[in-house]
Amino acid sequence: PPTPNLPRSAARPGHSSGEMMMMGHGHEAKENPRTQTTQPIVTGASVLAITYADGVMMISDTLASYGSMARYKSVQRIGKVNDGAIVGASGEFSDFQYIKDLLEDLTDEDFDTADGRELSPKEIHSYLSRVMYNRRTKVNPLYNQLVVGGFDTSKGESYLGCVDMYGSTFKDDIVATGYGMYLALPLLRKGHDKKMNEEAARKLLEKCMTVLFYRDCRTINKYNIAKVTGSGVEISKPYSLKTEWGFKRFVDPHSSE
């Protein structure tokens, strides 16, 4: 009988950062690599998002790794769904592209119907969680952790939630994926305030991404930051943050000072 697939750690070569776990009894998956995925190949690292005074802000870096190689360095891992919502993803990049296509089909339908109703962030979140759970049930998951952020103009409320590859969903004011869950979440929780202004929200997210850049091997210092407010969606062009490498002990570990 085939050996059961045990969870693999992030340290194993050929696997990206974060806790991308193997499905429990996926031996059929092993025998059908063409129809059932078992491991992510081209992956994105963390996505962070918080709610603030005007809406929701989300940040990610622009790297898609090929195992340990920094393969595609100008990739946008946050996508606009409609004027009220954005979706960010970590994990398998091709699966994110597929998910973006699914969402585009939905927004096209809204456009065709033209009845004055656009998909609300809550509906997008619910839809994605059904899709992810459905795929996990077929042991052919979409290898992503998704972050859905939006502003519901009919209610005047921010919306922020996440869905993972198992279909687990959460709604919260602070969301992080991948290594961000371990390194950034505590910092975000400490510094977050629902009523913080745009400047403060941005600074907080950037501080966390800097920490992730220092500590997560599968990141680069190039980011997209996005916000959704009552006036719509804005996703920035890629930009870099200041990092500090001049620490004495870092430059010369054997220095006596």
Partner: protein, 252 residues
Amino acid sequence: MFRNDYDTDVTTFSPAGRIHQVEYAIAAVKQGSACAALKSDDYAVLACVMRKESDLGSHQEKLFKVDEHMGIGISGLIADGRVLCKYLRTECLNHKFVFETPMQVGRLVRKLSDKSQVFTQTSEKRPYGVGLLVIGCDKTGPHVYETLPSGDYYEYIAQAMGKRSQSSRTNLEKYYKEFKDMELGDLVKHALQSLRGASEEKLTKTNCAVAFVGKDRPFTILTGDNLGPYMELAVGGDDNNMDESKKEEEAT
């Protein structure tokens, strides 16, 4: 409508550019007992006459709840109506499960109409012989839609269908400008009054039914004793003398 050479198949056009089978299906709707619907800025109301096959039997149920925010009244082949009702309920439930939000009424009506249209273009099947008056309340407010076997659908402020529904429509045309800001009780009253001319017998609380839905009220069907107070208001003999506002208070 008289028989002619081009009415055997639903897939045959007549030289005048008509599909007679579809028109005959619409005629089946006109044979059913009457339904009327109207809306204000906050509520949509549905009323129907329920025919009895015989004195030994019960009145034919014609109003159905589709979801918390939506319901239908049917005219025509009741069996077809039940099947369509099941379809609408399933679609609503499906949508609610996937999107965690009630379905937009207009989109569901369009789905149903697209389904109906298929049967006007197949050789093996016949069109549905039932028309629906769909009332619902969604993010864009209350709505009244009419669907027909042809696959056409229209949105209305007020509409009536079925036998002798022309008198209902005439009555609704008289008052429709006032519906916009009307209270729920008055809307129900108007719906029932419009059906007066469409029924063979005098309207009582047992041979008709009313349903309403609004931004703050889920789809509710009123029959029998629940309907009694509204019936008095609408068609009661000496309602000119009664304290109308008090009656409405009791009723709601």
